[in-house]
Amino acid sequence: MPAILAIGQTIVIISGGIDLSVAATAALSGSLMGVAFAHWGWPEPLALLLGLAAGFAVGAFNGYVITKWRVPDFVATLGMFAAARGMALLVTDGLPVPDYSQAVEGRTIPGLVSTLGTESLFGIPLIALVAAVCAIFAWFVFTRTRQGRSAYAIGGNREAARVSGIRVERVKMRVYILSGMLAAVAGFMLVGRQASANALMGEGMELQSIAAVVVGGANLFGGEGGIAGTIIGVLIIGVLENGLEILGVEEFWQRVVNGLIIVAVVALDQWRRRAIVAREASAMRTERP
């Protein structure tokens, strides 16, 4: 799931924004899907659609607030980070879903979600395949479509993109919607793996996703980076976490390490970037006009 969230995060960050609400959105989408299926007795496809719609709605709201009300990306999604989590708690009453006192006879979690979350194909977990599909989709959008390249241009130089006739607001809106919907998919996978939905699931994953994007070489301020880098970032962070676990580092310490890694990586990135800027500046100075 961190991979899927990180893919959405990559698109947002490269377009010059940041989405702090991805993990909360995943929890909301997963919870809503679980409650609709188990408690309300909705058919499976409808429950899944509702979860996706929730991701869409959160993304659209983020996009709207950012482009129309001109709230900074960071602030808008920080608000949503709390609000979506609250809505997830409201939907589930703060209890794990399915809650057997409320569940419709025989309903637990949707079969598709359960299969994707737990089973493997040729030894590869289906979750990984879902993430791979999301990654390929996002990579295609990002490198081969107008919308994707426009997002890239906006992150690289917003004003230049604007005067070139790119509708900046519209593209940003779509970027946040895509991030919200990927978060919904990540939420489904969380539910599938745990065989249960829970309003607090995925806590802290927004930071992991940002860390993965930055470790993967993207510029935290937009305009540079790619999906492939992010996947490598996800793997590095995953290996690190497993390593800490194998070393027997206490879970609380793992949190400390996780937090510090983000700061350290961004600091390193800034330092590296300064070095690059200095080098490019000198190259520009010496280039013949």
């Binding site: 081969r144 107008r146 919308q147 690289g156 130089n157 005067v163 790119i166 305009g223 520009m284 100075r285």
Partner: protein
């Protein structure tokens, strides 16, 4: 005694020599200009003197005392100050706070001594002849005034050597005059001034001596009275630039390409009626603050509260965003190069940025077609890029401007709005861009050329409109006399 004595300074960057053993000296009370094309090493040399760049070798003496290399702190203590092109003021603070930034006087209780601060700041401002209240916020000042604040800030360090990097690039001619006056006063006080500029005429006026750099080496140091503009230009580029014959295309009598009625963005832009024919270059000349940029931005849908109507090729269009403007066949090249290119994207992508619709099937871009098309424009405009995939941010300023021009050619533009496109680019690139503008006009594009350089407007345009105070105050043919146009731009009606 020599104020500044720089000897055999070398600085190499990976793969490039920025300074290859440069000598440079400034006497007290001397204005010494540094001339050279982009990449000649002027900026590096200044930064080495200021201590912000550490050279590989060489020595720097100020008043006969050897400075440690690469120490901005020590350089400042010895009275070396530098005013960069991009100003470094805090817009939200007052003028007084900015002038004394970092050394605000304290009272006995360690709070800021406001009265003393404003009193001291006012003294420094008086020295540069700037008449603004020290409690005004810097945000409300015009660029020219901000620059004087910057100089005042530099002066309060008991400055011995003041280095100015392209100080007039953002100034109108009248504001530049004021700056020259101040430089002369500083010179009379015995301050040494290092003056970096592209503008030959200006350098000849203001400097006592001129050192020309090329490829990181000193070409020569000459007295300003001993040379002509053409000599300097030749020293800079190393080849003879032919005196420019008037290559202006014959007056256009094509169809109407652009027509505006009552185009306005009050209160800064009063209603403007423009008519541009196909193939016509219309110059709009005005000092900074006259409303030139406002006019360009309004026309291009960049101002939210625009009024009036616009017709392109006889068809009425509604422009409320740049996207509308692009769709209507307009193109825009701003004076701020950063506004033009996306540095991290390739040259090819930058060239096709406004044409992505044409290059896509559905939502999917045809990357091969994109590259082909871009290569064509790279050849056509002689853009110096190693490949279409080179990041545009690594090109030189002139080539970046060409990339933006290519972008508009590629999008099939019918009306091109150029807002001071020559600002801050060097002589060679300037010539090429002028040639391109003429070429575009000959190809039938209507060009609105906004500038604060009367020379440029007259060299390129069929007609010159003069702006002042947010309105067009005079329409002149290109052969109207300079002083008439200047008078109009300066607010003299008649």
């Amino acid at each position: 005694m020599t104020l500044l004595d720089v000897r055999t300074v070398r600085k190499t960057y990976p793969g490039a020599v920025a300074l290859g053993g440069v000598d440079f000296a400034v006497e007290p009370g001397e204005v010494h200009a540094l001339l050279g094309e982009n990449g000649a090493g002027k900026s590096t040399l200044m930064k080495v003197i200021a201590g912000s760049v550490t050279p590989d070798a060489g020595q720097i003496d100020v008043d006969g005392r050897r400075l440690p290399l690469g120490s901005p702190q020590v350089a400042r203590e010895h009275g070396v100050a530098i005013v960069y092109q991009e100003l470094s003021l805090v817009p939200s603070l007052s003028v007084g706070e900015n002038v004394l930034l970092g050394r605000w006087p304290l009272t006995r209780t360690r709070t800021v001594g406001w009265d003393r601060l404003h009193e001291e700041a006012a003294q420094h401002l008086a020295r540069v002849g700037l008449d603004v209240r020290t409690r005004t916020s810097v945000r409300t000042l015009r660029i020219a005034d901000r620059q004087l604040v910057e100089i005042a800030k530099a002066l309060c360090d008991h400055v011995r050597l003041l280095m100015l990097d392209e100080p007039t690039s953002a100034l109108s001619e009248r504001e530049a005059e004021r700056l020259f006056g101040i430089i002369h006063e500083l010179r009379a006080e015995g301050v040494g001034v290092v003056y970096v500029s592209h503008m030959l005429a200006e350098v000849l006026r203001v400097a006592d001596r001129i050192t020309v750099l090329r490829d990181g080496r000193t070409v020569d140091t000459v007295r300003a009275g001993d040379v002509l503009e053409a000599d300097l230009a030749q020293m800079m580029v190393g080849r003879r630039i032919s005196a420019q014959p008037d290559q202006r295309v014959a007056a256009a009598d094509g169809d109407l390409a652009l027509r505006t009625r009552g185009l306005a963005c009050r209160p800064r832009l009063q209603p403007v009626d423009l008519e541009l024919r196909k193939g016509e270059v219309v110059g709009v000349f005005g000092f900074v603050g006259a409303g030139r940029t406002r006019l360009a931005r309004t026309l291009f849908g960049l101002e939210p509260d625009a009024a009036g109507t616009v017709e392109v090729s006889g068809k009425r269009v509604r422009i409320t965003s740049p996207a509308d403007a692009v769709a209507a066949g307009l193109g825009y090249l701003g004076d701020d190069r950063a506004l033009g290119i996306v540095p991290a994207m390739s040259v090819a992508e930058n060239i096709t940025l406004a044409s992505m619709g044409r290059l896509s099937r559905g939502p999917v871009l045809d990357v091969r077609k994109q590259r082909e098309l871009a290569s064509r424009y790279i050849d056509e405009l002689a853009i110096r890029a190693s490949s279409p995939d080179q990041p545009a941010g690594t090109l030189s300023g002139g080539n970046q401007q060409k990339v933006v021009l290519a972008r508009w050619l590629c999008s099939g533009v019918r009306v091109l709005v150029l807002d001071d496109p020559m600002r801050g680019i060097d002589v060679g690139a300037k010539e090429e861009i002028m040639r391109l503008v003429r070429q575009l006009a000959a190809d039938g594009i209507a060009i609105l050329y906004l500038t604060s350089e009367l020379k440029e407007a007259k060299a390129l345009a069929h007609r010159v409109l003069v702006m002042a105070g947010g309105r067009i105050v005079r329409a002149a043919t290109a052969d109207a006399s300079d002083d008439q146009i200047m008078a109009a731009a300066g607010g003299v009606h008649g």
